[in-house]
Amino acid sequence: MADGVKPRVKVPKSAAAGDVITIKTLISHPMESGQRKDGDGNPIPRSIINRFTCDFNGKNVIDVTLEPAISTNPYFEFEATVPEAGEFKFTWYDDDGSVYEDAKSISIG
């Protein structure tokens, strides 16, 4: 179980209908690759975020598979068109089965 995992999201509070907005997300996570060994030569088990998704009003925006080569504290920046007011929902899936969630609402105007 990874310690100190905390998701962070930055979404504009409002936008005009049809606007393309930039979304930034960051989750603090060690992203242990499984390739390293500890001081005694034993392999350190893999422990990474393996999937990240973003949905807007139930409709999928982005769905990413993460691999062990991705560095600690994975950062995603992507764009989305906002057709209407609603809520962005962000979900990160951990190797250990944990699911981390965050949500941000956006208004039109």
């Binding site: 962070r8 603090s28 990413v64 560095s71 950062y75 920046e77 992507f78 068109t81 906002v82």
Partner: protein, 285 residues
Amino acid sequence: MKFKAMTALAGALAISAVGAANADPVDDTLVINDEIEMTVKTAAPEHMEYVDEVMSGWMFRNDDTRDMERDDFDNPGMLGVEAAIEAWDTVEGTAGKACSDCHGAIDEDQMVGVKPVYPKWNEAAGEVWTIEMAMNSCRTEQMGAEAWGYNSDDMINMSALMSYVSRGLPVNVAIDGPAAETWEQGKEIYYTRYGQLELACANCHEDNYGNMIRADHLSQGQINGFPTYRLKNAKLNGIHNRFKGCIRDTRAEPFGIGSPEFVALELYVTSRGNGLSVEGPSVRN
């Protein structure tokens, strides 16, 4: 790492331009969060004999790295600051106190202006103290808690928080009075050649800033941005650890982290940045 992806709703894939490294230092200004105006270039303090203008290490980094520091969300060093804000309110030790019991909640701004004057002379101890030494004294004397390791994550994070609350204020360490002797010692170290490569700090950071050292750009070695988030090891780095790395690279035996020699060197090098903004936690390669 920036990762841009096409989305179901997005119109087009935005590709960030790859910043070409031009002549150093760059002609650029740093405003953090569109709010805090930083002094990254200013007239050298009077005591410096061979340099007219001092520049933050930020000026020597490439476009992408500089951009990461413009917004706190993009600055991974802020993770350390967040951890320290939690530690600030955490009760530890036999006295049952947290930092905030004496120094107030962090947003009461009582700690603003503390970092820019460190390292400074401590009358009771009769020596120059770095902010790390002051924090450990707080822990052992006031809180009855165990001292933090000088280069531990807890220590570096708290040091980053102290820097964060004073961000934008000018570095202003005293080099006269009782601190003068330590400052002279630091200056001596700065200009002494060490190691098999026989390099002094000055050989790279005074004589050759703006030039390449193998694949990297030599800065003036300013430390106003410490603790620094380094992309190479993906964590916040303390200043003594950085000194150690530099001296190791001259193939010398480094002084110890937290040693009197490094405290003196820290005072001297900090004083070379008097007038630059406190910039920590900064982002470097």
